[in-house]
Symmetry: C2
Subunit: 100 residues, 2 copies
């Protein structure tokens, strides 16, 4: 990935998938994407990690990238099958953009 | 509160504040608001309860009120002072509307 390809990079390259680690890990991951030239990043999480995804976006926006704003928040349900049982889990996608 | 006042009721009357109880408690609370005539309800939560708020909205929309849709999702940070220390907590507001 070249430093200048931020605008053309596929969606997948601009995604931070939030899990069980400390929130600052994800803040730094997102910050790195912005510093590499991305104008828009997506923070995703499922289940109990959803609140950590919101924390990530809010800490990033308030403390690190002051010109970033919440462009969109989507919530949805992902279903998958484990041992012939269908499970559902809520998910969130927070899109953050930089104004400049 | 009369049955027909849904459209005029103040915002506060259409809010479900999600906390630490089982998710179905909040689903039923939201369902009750819709059944009393509200066309739009708001599901709010702070901190770790945020993921439960998303679960509430998704369960309601998928299993109970099939013509409800997610009209808006806002995330923000609330700050408050405890023992002269400023604390910040993330919050979410999910607005659900009925199409009919």
């Amino acid at each position: 990935m070249s430093e200048s390809s931020g605008g053309l990079r596929s969606d997948l390259g601009n995604v931070v998938l939030v899990g069980q680690k400390p929130v600052m890990n994800y803040v730094i991951a997102a910050l790195t994407l912005f510093e590499r030239g991305s104008k828009t990043i997506v923070i995703k999480a499922r289940g109990k990690s959803i609140s950590r995804a919101v924390d990530t976006a809010e800490i990033l926006r308030r403390s690190f990238v002051s010109d970033a704003y919440v462009k969109d928040v989507k919530i949805s349900t992902e279903t998958f099958t484990v041992d012939n049982k269908t499970r559902s889990v809520s998910s969130i996608e927070i899109t953050l953009s930089k104004q400049t």
